[in-house]
C-alpha cells in the first residue's frame, strides 16, 4: 500500500482516580490516507495504549457518540478526514462539558435539558390507531424536517459561548428539538413549550452567536431554531396579554 505517513496525536487524558487535572499524552500513529480522526484513535486504543477511553459506535456520522475537540474545533471524529490536518493533531474532550475520563464527557446534564422541552407530540386528544396515519403535506413536513435531523452529538453545545457561561441555558439542540415538535402540523403543544422556552434557561439567553450552526455536522441549523423560537415565544406572550387567558394545561 501507500508509504506510511506518521502523525503525532496529542490526546487529553484524565483519570479521576489518579489525576487531579487533565494532562496530555502524545502518540505517534502510522496513518492511512483515507482515515478519519476516529480511525487514529481506534488505532491508539487497539495497538498502542488500551487505556485510552473514548466513545464511538456507528463510524458513519449518525449515532452522535464521537464528538470531540480536534485542533480546537468541535468535530465528529468519524466524519472529519485526517488529511485535513497537519502533522500534529490535538484531540480533547468537548468543551463546556464536565469530563468523566479522557475524551468522555458528562451527558446527563444535556439529557435533562433535552427532556425539559417535552420532545414528543402533544395533543389535546390522542388519535386512535384505527383512524390511521394523520395527513401531513410535504410542505408541512418541510417546515420542521431539518430540525428533526439532530443526532445529539452536542457539538453545538461545545461551541456556544452562552452555554459556557450560563448553566441554565437550555441550549441549541434542545431548543431546536422542542421547536421541531412545535412546528409539526400534528402537534398541539406549542403553547406549552413556549412557556417552557420563556421560563428557566430561556431562549432569550441565546445571543445569536450562530456558532452552533457553524459546527453542526448535520446542518440542523439550531441557531435558526432558537431564534425562531424567540419570535414565537414573544408572539405567544403578546397574544396572552391581549387575548383573555387561554385555558392552560
Amino acid at each position: 500500500m501507500s508509504d506510511v505517513q506518521k502523525k503525532t496525536f496529542v490526546v487529553t487524558r484524565f483519570d479521576p482516580d489518579r489525576d487531579q487535572v487533565p494532562k496530555t499524552q502524545s502518540y505517534e500513529v502510522p496513518v492511512e490516507p483515507d482515515w478519519k480522526v476516529l480511525d487514529a484513535l481506534n488505532f491508539i486504543k487497539d495497538h498502542i495504549d488500551p487505556t485510552l477511553s473514548h466513545r464511538w459506535s456507528c463510524r458513519m456520522a449518525v449515532c452522535g457518540s464521537c464528538g470531540m475537540l480536534v485542533n480546537g474545533e468541535p468535530k465528529l471524529t468519524c466524519k472529519v478526514a485526517l488529511s485535513s490536518y497537519g502533522d500534529t493533531v490535538e484531540v480533547a474532550p468537548l468543551p463546556n462539558f464536565p469530563v468523566i475520563r479522557d475524551l468522555v464527557v458528562e451527558l446527563d446534564g444535556f439529557m435533562e435539558k433535552f427532556e425539559h422541552v417535552k420532545p414528543w407530540i402533544i395533543r389535546a386528544k390522542e388519535r386512535a390507531v384505527e383512524d390511521g396515519p394523520m395527513r401531513q403535506s410535504p410542505e408541512e413536513l418541510e417546515e420542521f424536517k431539518h430540525f428533526s435531523m439532530c443526532i445529539n452529538c452536542m457539538l453545538c453545545y461545545a461551541a456556544c459561548p452562552v452555554v459556557a457561561n450560563e448553566p441554565e441555558f437550555l441550549g441549541p439542540a434542545a431548543i431546536a428539538l422542542g421547536h421541531r415538535y412545535s412546528l409539526d402540523s400534528r402537534d398541539e403543544g406549542a403553547g406549552e413549550r413556549n412557556r417552557i422556552f420563556r421560563g428557566e434557561g430561556t431562549v432569550f439567553a441565546c445571543s445569536y452567536a450562530n456558532e452552533c450552526s457553524e459546527v453542526c455536522p448535520k446542518n440542523v441549523d439550531p441557531a435558526a431554531a432558537v431564534n425562531q423560537a424567540k419570535l414565537k415565544a414573544v408572539i405567544d406572550w403578546a397574544a396572552g396579554l391581549v387575548l383573555p387567558r387561554r385555558a392552560e394545561e
Binding site: 500500500m1 483519570d15 479521576p16 482516580d17 489518579r18 483515507d34 486504543k45 487497539d46 495497538h47 495504549d49 488500551p50 487505556t51 477511553s53 473514548h54 466513545r55 464511538w56 459506535s57 456507528c58 463510524r59 458513519m60 456520522a61 449518525v62 449515532c63 452522535g64 457518540s65 466524519k79 468523566i100 475520563r101 479522557d102 468522555v104 451527558l107 439529557m111 427532556e115 420532545p119 414528543w120 407530540i121 390522542e126 388519535r127 390507531v129 390511521g132 396515519p133 394523520m134 395527513r135 401531513q136 403535506s137 410535504p138 408541512e140 413536513l141 420542521f144 424536517k145 428533526s148 435531523m149 443526532i151 445529539n152 428539538l177 415538535y181 409539526d184 400534528r186 402537534d187
Partner: protein, 573 residues
C-alpha cells in the same frame, strides 16, 4: 455491599425493539415499573443507522396475503408462518403508532405516507423518512418514551449476566461503565433487546456495539440460539469501512455494473433474480456479486475487489430528496459523488437472521426471559430476511413481548433476594479480577482479529465444509485463549477495555454457534450457501437449528418449522 435496584420488568437494550417494549409495558399497565438498561445512551443504539425503510401494507394494491407470501418466500420457507401472519397484520398499526408519535415519514402530495420499493417485495410497501428511517424511528421512540416516568433509564450500564434462580430469570447483573461497580437490577421479567452480532465479522455494516451480548447471555443460561447459520450479507456496503449504502438506492432505480460495464443481473439469468433484477432478495444479489468478482469481473481497489452501484441516471433532484444520506456517506466515506459517479460496493455482513429462540410472544424456554429485535429469532426471517422487515419486526414483537412480560411479572412472586445478591457479588468479583489483569499472554485485538478472520473464511457468502470445520476449531481455541487476554487499564471509571474484553467473549460464543449450526446444514438455503451442497434439501433440512451451550462445547438440536398456508416450492423470482 452490592446495590440492588428493583423493578417489575427489566429491558436490556435501548434500540427500536427495547424502546417499543418499554412503551408497550407501561401502556399495558401504568403502575408497572420498567428498567431500561443500555450499554450506550439509547439514541446511540445501532437502529440509528438503518437507512432504507420499514415494511407494512399501506396501498390498495397490496394485501397481508402478499406481504406474508413475500416474507415466507424470502425466508426460503424457513419462516414460521403463524408468526409471519401475525407480523404482517400488526405491521400497519405499529407504523401508524409511530406516525402518531411524530415520526417524520416522507409523504405523497396528498399528505398520505409515501412508500417505496424494496428487495423481494412485490409492491411498494416500505415506509420511509428519506433515507434515515432507523434514525427517525429510534429518535421518535426514544423521545416518546420520555413521557413515561415509569420507564427508568440506566444508561451506559453493561449487562454481564442474567440472574437465574429456581429455573426463572429474576434480573440482571450490570456493570456501571462510568463507575466500575456491578449492580443487581431485579425484575420478575427480563426482555433482551440487545441487537445483532455483526462485529463477529471483519467487514460489516454494524457499529462497534453490535457484539451479540444478549444472545450470549441467554445462551450461557441454557437457552438455545436458533438458526444462527443464517447471516445476511448486504450486497451494497462500502469496501473498507463496510458502511451501508441502503437498498433503497436500488428501490429508487439504482443499477449494478461489473468492471466490463455489464448489468450482470440482467445479462446472466443464472443468478435467479428474474425480472426483479436489482430488487431481488439480498442473498441472491450478494452471491451474484461474489460470483462476478470470482469470475474476474470485479474492479480492483485498495480493499479488494468491488463492483459499481450506479445512481447517476436518477438525477440530482431525486437523490437529494430521497437519498440525501447516501450522498453524504458516499462523498464522505468513498470519495465519490453519486450524482455523477458510480459508488464502489461489495457485499458485507449486515444482519443475523438467527438469535435467541423464542415463541411468538418473544418468550424463551427460560421462565420470565423474553427476547426481541435482532437478538431474537421469533422465526419470522427464516433463512433470509427481507430488507425493511426488521425495523417493523422490532416494533411488532417488541410491543407484544412488552405486554406479555408485564403479564408474567404480575403473575409471579418476588422470591428471595439472597441468592441473587450472592450471584451479583460473584460477578462483581469476577469483573474486578479482570481489571488490569496484566498476567495474560494474549492480546485482545489479536484474538478479536483472529475470530473475525475465522468467521470470514469459514462462514462467508459461500461456505465449504472444510473451512467451516476449521472455523469451529479455531473458535473453540480462541474461547480458551480469551481467558488469557492481558488487560492494562486498571481504572474503574469508564474502563472501555474491560467492556471490550467482555464483548469479545460474547462474540466468540455467538460466532461458535454460527459455525456449528452452519456445519450441520448440509444444503444451501437462503443466506447459507454451501459449496458442496448447492441445492435446497427440504426432505432433510426443512427445520430450524438450535445450538445449546454445554461446558464441553456447543450441542446441536433441531426444531420444526411452522408451515401452513404456503407449501415450500422452488424459490424463483
Amino acid at each position: 455491599m452490592t446495590e440492588v435496584l428493583r423493578h417489575d420488568v427489566v429491558i436490556v437494550g435501548g434500540g427500536a425493539a427495547g424502546l417499543r417494549a418499554a412503551i408497550a409495558a407501561v401502556e399495558a399497565d401504568p403502575g408497572i415499573s420498567v428498567a431500561l438498561v443500555s450499554k450506550v445512551y439509547p439514541m446511540r443504539s445501532h437502529t440509528v443507522s438503518a437507512e432504507g425503510g420499514a415494511a407494512a401494507v399501506a396501498r390498495d394494491d397490496d394485501s397481508f396475503e402478499m406481504h406474508g407470501y413475500d416474507t415466507v418466500k424470502g425466508s426460503d420457507f424457513l419462516g414460521d408462518q403463524d408468526v409471519i401472519q401475525y407480523f404482517v397484520e400488526q405491521a400497519p398499526p405499529e407504523l401508524t403508532r409511530l406516525e402518531h408519535w411524530g415520526c417524520p415519514w416522507s409523504r405523497n402530495a396528498d399528505g398520505t405516507v409515501a412508500t417505496r420499493a424494496f428487495g423481494g417485495m412485490t409492491t411498494k410497501r416500505t415506509w420511509y423518512a428519506a433515507d434515515k428511517v432507523g434514525f427517525h424511528m429510534l429518535h421518535t421512540l426514544f423521545q416518546h418514551s420520555m413521557r413515561f416516568d415509569r420507564i427508568v433509564r440506566y444508561d451506559e450500564q453493561f449487562v454481564t449476566k442474567l440472574l437465574v434462580e429456581d429455573g426463572a430469570v429474576r434480573g440482571v447483573a450490570a456493570l456501571d461503565i462510568r463507575q466500575g461497580e456491578v449492580r443487581a437490577i431485579l425484575g420478575r421479567a427480563v426482555i433482551l433487546a440487545t441487537g445483532g452480532a455483526g462485529k463477529c465479522f471483519p467487514f460489516t455494516t454494524n457499529g462497534n456495539i453490535k457484539t451479540g451480548d444478549g444472545m450470549a447471555l441467554a445462551y450461557r443460561e441454557g437457552v438455545a440460539l436458533k438458526d444462527m447459520e443464517f447471516v445476511q450479507y448486504h450486497p451494497t456496503g462500502l469496501p473498507g469501512t463496510g458502511i451501508l449504502i441502503t437498498e433503497a438506492t436500488r428501490g429508487e432505480g439504482g443499477r449494478l455494473f461489473n468492471a466490463r460495464g455489464e448489468r450482470f443481473l440482467e445479462t446472466k439469468p443464472e443468478y435467479g433474480v428474474g425480472s426483479k433484477l436489482e430488487l431481488g432478495p439480498r442473498d441472491m444479489i450478494s452471491r451474484a456479486i461474489f460470483q462476478e468478482i470470482r469470475a474476474g469481473n470485479g474492479i480492483q481497489g485498495t480493499f479488494g475487489e468491488y463492483v459499481h452501484l450506479d445512481l447517476t441516471h436518477l438525477g440530482r433532484e431525486l437523490l437529494e430528496k430521497r437519498l440525501p444520506f447516501v450522498l453524504e456517506l458516499a462523498r464522505t466515506y468513498a470519495g465519490v459523488d453519486p450524482v455523477t459517479q458510480p459508488i464502489p460496493i461489495r457485499p458485507v455482513v449486515h444482519y443475523m437472521m438467527g438469535g435467541v429462540d423464542t415463541d411468538i410472544d418473544g418468550a424463551t424456554e427460560l421462565a420470565g426471559l423474553y427476547a426481541v429485535g435482532e437478538c431474537a429469532a421469533h422465526s419470522m426471517n427464516g433463512a433470509n430476511r427481507l430488507g425493511s422487515n426488521s425495523l417493523t419486526e422490532c416494533l411488532v414483537f417488541g410491543a407484544r413481548a412488552g405486554r406479555h412480560a408485564v403479564g408474567h411479572a404480575k403473575d409471579s412472586g418476588d422470591g428471595s433476594e439472597d441468592p441473587l445478591r450472592r450471584q451479583v457479588e460473584e460477578e462483581a468479583a469476577r469483573i474486578d479480577g479482570l481489571r488490569g489483569r496484566a498476567k495474560g499472554s494474549e492480546k485482545l485485538t489479536q484474538v478479536r482479529d483472529e475470530m473475525t478472520q475465522a468467521m470470514e473464511s469459514g462462514c462467508g457468502v459461500y461456505r465449504e465444509q472444510a473451512s467451516m470445520r476449521s472455523a469451529t476449531e479455531t473458535l473453540a481455541q480462541l474461547r480458551r485463549r480469551c481467558a488469557d487476554v492481558a488487560l492494562e487499564d486498571r481504572s474503574r471509571v469508564f474502563n472501555t477495555e474491560i467492556v471490550a474484553a467482555l464483548e469479545l467473549v460474547n462474540m466468540i460464543d455467538v460466532a461458535e454457534t454460527v459455525a456449528v449450526a452452519a456445519l450441520q446444514r448440509r444444503e444451501s438455503r437462503g443466506a447459507h450457501a454451501c459449496s458442496e451442497f448447492p441445492g435446497r434439501n427440504d426432505r432433510e433440512f426443512l427445520h430450524h437449528s438450535l445450538v445449546y451451550y454445554e461446558p464441553a462445547g456447543p450441542r446441536f438440536d433441531k426444531k420444526d418449522v411452522a408451515l401452513g398456508r404456503w407449501e415450500p416450492e422452488e424459490r424463483k423470482y
